[in-house]
Each structure stands twice: as C-alpha cells, then as structure tokens.
Symmetry: C2
Subunit: 217 residues, 2 copies
C-alpha cells in the first residue's frame, strides 16, 4: 500500500462521473466498461481508466466497473455520504431558483434557513421556509448545525456578510456574488461567477482569430 | 514577431483580470504595478507578469500596467468589444434572475427574446421583454441577429431544444441544464452545472481526510 494524492484535475472531474454513474444507477445499469463509459461521456477510455484507477480496484478486466459501488465510492470521496445543512442569504430570483432545486436536497444539501436584508420579503415562504431578517443569522446558526452558506446577494454587501458568517462559525461558502470574498484560509469557498462564465463563452465564439495571438518575443 | 498560442489556463484567468481591471478603471486608477495587482488579486506578482506578458508589452519596468489599455485589450481578446444578442430559453426563477442581471448588458450581452414552453407565462413581461412560446424561436432567430442561447430549462428537454437551436443557426449555448448537450463541435457550449460546483465545495469541506487517499500500487 502506498499513499497517493489525487490531483486537482481528477477531483474536478469527479462530479461529472458521479452524475453519469447516478443516472446509470437510476436506470438499473449494474456494470459498465470503460469503453461504454467513454462513449457516453465523450472522454477517452484511457482517461477514464486513469482517473478511476486512483481509487483502487474498481475496474476488473473483462468485467467493467460496478456502477453502484463506484457511485457510492465517489459520493463518499466528494463528501456526499453525509448531509449538509445550508442557509441561503439573498432571496431574490437567483436565491429562489436555488432554493427550489430538488436535486440539491437529493444529494444531501438541505436548505434550513433563508435570510434577506429586504424587510418587504420577510415572512415570505419559499419552499416551506420563511424568509428571515439578516439579524437572525447568528442565533439561527447557533441553534442549527449549519455548515454552508449560499451567498446570492449583490457584491456590495457580500464581503461584509461573509466576514460575519465566518465569525458565526460557517465552514463553507457557495458564493454567487461577483466579488472575491476575504475570508481566512480554513474557510472553504466555491465561487460561481456567472459573468466570467459568459466571458469564456464569448471568447470561444471569437474562435480562430484568437487561436494565435501575436506577441513580441 | 512570433506567433504564440495562449494557454487555456491563462485564458481561463482573463475574466478575473478583466473584472479587477474594470473595477480599478471605474475607481479612476490609471496605472498599477504587478505587485499591487498581486496584493489585490491574491495571485503572485510573477504569475501576473507571466500571464499578462502573453499580450506583449503592457507592463513597463517601474511604470506598471496601464489599467484602461489592459482592460480594453483583454476585453477585446474575450470578444467583449462587440455586442452579443441572446435569447433566454426557460423563464423560471433562474431565467428571470439572469434576465435581470444588469452587468451582462453592461458587458455587451443583450437579451433580445425570452421563450418558455409553459403557456401560463406567455405574455408575461420580464425586464421589458414578453415571454413567447417555443414555437416562435425559429422565426425570432431568423429576424434577429442572435448568436447565443441561454438554456435554463430542465434537463429532460434540454438536449432536444439544443438540437433545434443548432438547426436554427445558433453559434453558442450557455447551458444551465444539468446535462451534457449533444451538439456539433463548431457550436460553442459553456456549461454551468451548479450541482457539480456544490459537490466541489462539499469535497473541500471534507478536507484533510481526503488529502491523501490510499490506493493499491
């Protein structure tokens, strides 16, 4: 036995494997070869074998991967074998869209509380949860076992709110505010900067004219 | 002069440079050194110099980068110097959230039409745009110069809709449906798979126990 660190690149691909394996499992598929998975996922079979071999002995020559086992194993690596309690901060359209995603709950991400600074929507019920004022976050976090905060507020308030969340003991932040948060290293942040994603699309559309850019050497 | 291809890694970082430079520009900052930018962006100064040197001669020793010039230049590389006309398909919470993002329009991404299969919301006006039936997409695209479709519909319908969009001449798809689209290579797709982002956060939260995973060698 030897200990091996799994590369970031492999880790970043695990959620996609997890999604495909979950769908196969739902469809009652028990085994799949790297070749079949390759066709489905449009990734080379050799890449699949390399990636999945990181987890040791899932695949057997001539047998293929056990779908359910691999699904559970990757889920466990991703931390999906335990529930996460979330609070949502910002009950605008985006916040409401996220609150209504059934899939998150299915994966163990449970939204427990919703908060907003706009008093006009306090008391409004979104998916069975009453929107509360921001002042309630601290006591709510103390009474509930919250580990993740979802930030869907404008960037102007986001940095300050994130600092407060840290002081209240948050461990992870899923940040949709279009700004980089200023939190201690031990707080895990996952940014979803939608504008940047749209810019990447715009770049791709420019296509060939960008493929080679001159530079002075 | 020599032609040099810019790496994907550098390209993927450009939107973040663009965001910071845009904010500096808005604040009236004219020049910035790689060291100052480093402190601001929490990236090493050497990384910044390496990245920005790809574009040739922006930085001058002892002078720093010209913020406006660099901002415009990166914007041009990202294709933000021209307008993009978008249609939004799916007028649920997420679609409405995206339609209401002022920043997209500021960057030249203009939502021209909104479509939904749910007839109950046909005629509803979102940010001045009337929601139309899906059957109108083809003629709307023929009459308007649409290059990007934003897909915010459930995954069940997304693959088929994407195929239709391709047949109507779409060039790029910004896909929020939690499924991989099946479109020809020349169609540019940028996926925003929110569940996968949340899984990455969950993985990070598992922390140390994942840092080293045993495997048989």
């Amino acid at each position: 036995m030897e200990t091996k660190e799994i590369s970031r690149a492999v880790i970043s691909r695990l959620p996609r494997y997890y999604r495909y394996l979950g769908e196969l499992n739902d469809e009652g598929v028990e085994r799949i070869s790297s070749q079949e998975l390759s066709t489905l996922m449009k990734v080379t079979a050799s890449q699949i074998r390399q990636d999945l071999n990181n987890f040791g002995g899932f695949g057997q020559q001539g047998y293929g991967y056990n779908v359910k086992y691999l699904y559970d194993e990757i889920g466990s690596i991703l931390g999906l074998d335990k529930k996460h309690n979330l609070i949502l901060i910002g009950a605008g359209n985006l916040g409401q869209a996220l609150a209504n995603y059934v899939n998150f709950e299915k994966r163990g991400f449970i939204i427990k509380g919703i908060f907003d600074s706009n008093e006009k929507i306090h008391g409004k019920v979104i998916r069975g949860i009453r929107v509360q004022p921001m002042e309630e976050i601290e006591s709510f976090m103390a009474e509930n076992d919250i580990d993740i905060a979802v930030l869907t507020i404008p960037k102007t308030g986001a940095v300050k709110v994130a600092e407060q969340l840290v002081s209240f003991g948050i461990r992870g932040i899923w940040n949709f505010a279009h700004i980089d948060l200023n939190v201690p290293e031990e707080i895990e942040v996952e940014n979803v900067h939608l504008s940047e994603s749209l810019m990447r699309l715009s770049y791709k559309l420019k296509g060939e004219q960008n493929a080679h850019i001159r530079r002075k050497v």
